[in-house]
């Protein structure tokens, strides 16, 4: 059952990657970076299945994947933000987040066990990016139907996924100590939030048009 669930999850990611490659000529820089992130996620998750069967633990893979994820998601947002101040703030927050993640990874020996503090921080950071983008859109609205904007769905996916993950990782250590059986029962929440995130990304790539519209200006020669 675990493997079957993982395969469904990988199929959604693979579908998103294929659609992204199909539209690669029209992808803006933010969605291009997202495509790269998806490819890395796909390989990471495939390796995680192999690691789970052979080494019985996947902590090392996720410890390595965390900083890459933070870097690429930050890049996606930096390329989406309109406000220059927000872009500078994102740069500073990204480096701060990466440094704290590295410190917690060393303290918690993240290559051997789950780094819940690092994951909590990463989730809070990405939720903050999502909120900054929502604010940016409210300050500089560009289209009436925001629901036709690919980045809206990507942002919503990240927002739901990481907001749920903030609460999951905050309670992780306590639950693991007090009642590890509940953690097993909570796994579907994480699984479905994952499906929601990659489903949203898949839909965002479907929304992205194949052709880039040419801008025409009413101008005369100088």
């Amino acid at each position: 059952m675990w493997l079957f669930k993982r395969i469904i999850y990988l199929c959604i990611i693979l579908a998103a990657i294929l659609i992204a490659y199909n539209r690669k000529k029209s992808l803006p820089a933010n969605l291009s970076a997202l495509k790269t992130l998806l490819v890395i996620v796909f390989f990471n998750e495939t390796l995680a299945i192999i690691f789970a069967y052979t080494f019985k633990q996947t902590s090392l893979l996720y410890a390595l994947f965390g900083p890459v994820q933070v870097f690429l998601i930050s890049f996606v947002y930096k390329k989406t933000f309109v406000s220059r101040k927000t872009i500078i703030a994102t740069n500073l927050l990204m480096y701060a987040c990466l440094i704290v993640m590295l410190v917690t990874a060393i303290i918690n020996k993240a290559w051997m066990q789950v780094n819940s503090e690092g994951n909590t921080l990463k989730s809070i950071y990405i939720v903050l990016l999502c909120l900054l983008l929502f604010t940016d859109w409210l300050r500089f609205p560009t289209t009436f139907n925001i629901m036709k904007e690919p980045m809206f769905w990507v942002n919503m996916g990240f927002f739901f996924f990481f907001a749920i993950n903030v609460f999951f990782w905050i309670g992780y250590d306590f639950l693991a100590e007090e009642n590890s059986a509940i953690l097993k029962k909570l796994e579907p929440i994480q699984y479905f939030s994952n499906l929601f995130l990659y489903g949203n990304i898949l839909y965002a790539f479907i929304l992205q048009k194949k052709e880039v519209k040419r801008l025409e200006y009413e101008t005369g020669p100088v």
Binding site: I164, E178, T219, P221
Partner: protein, 256 residues
Amino acid sequence: MKPDLFKIILTGILIIGLLAVFIIFFILLYRKSYKKSIAEKELMQVQFSQTLLQTQLEIQQQTLQHVSRELHDNLGQVASLIKIHLNTLRFDDLEKASISIETTKDLTRQLIADIKSLSVSLNSDRIARVGLINALQTETQRLNKTNEFVASIEVLGTALLENDKAVILYRMSQEILNNMIKHSKASHINILCDCRENRFILAFSDDGIGFNVTDKINNDGAGLNNLLNRAKQINAELTMQSTVGKGSRVTIVLPL
């Protein structure tokens, strides 16, 4: 204390519900913000059209004054001279008559050339057709033909300008050049058109007597204030630098 699964699930549902409410609230707020932004843009567009219309009217008024001056001071004078030459033509002395006819012919040629030049400088459509740079090059040639100035133009890079803005820039250039011709007592006039780095720079410099910029703007500088207003209307920045005895420089920077 054992964590209760039911409470955890309830909390989870509550969190997801709150996130969903947040998204719905965001969409509603976004649409409101978009409508407000569109209304502001439309208002700005209307204001821009109004100021553009006002500028066009001012330009028309100035153009009519320019035509009136040209007709009175130049074309009228030449036509009067032609009339005098024709009136004083005496056919009893064929040699003198021949000289007078030749002079009249020259004056007529000059009159035709001046009428053409006036017509060319008045035609706004010409700017749209030939472009601002070509129009300024013609102005430079016109200045050189007077033999009173050595005028030159330097063009760096290329850019596309909206027709309205090109016409206003051309009229501003004409006013700046006319001021230099009338007041600067310069021998060299230089025009620089720099269309690089997402901005269009138009700079005019002379080696004339110069003037005190602040005094001129504060006192009788209606023409200079007019230039500043016109620059503002096309979102350009106009700066004037001048030192008494060392010449002047007027720079217009238009973001592209």
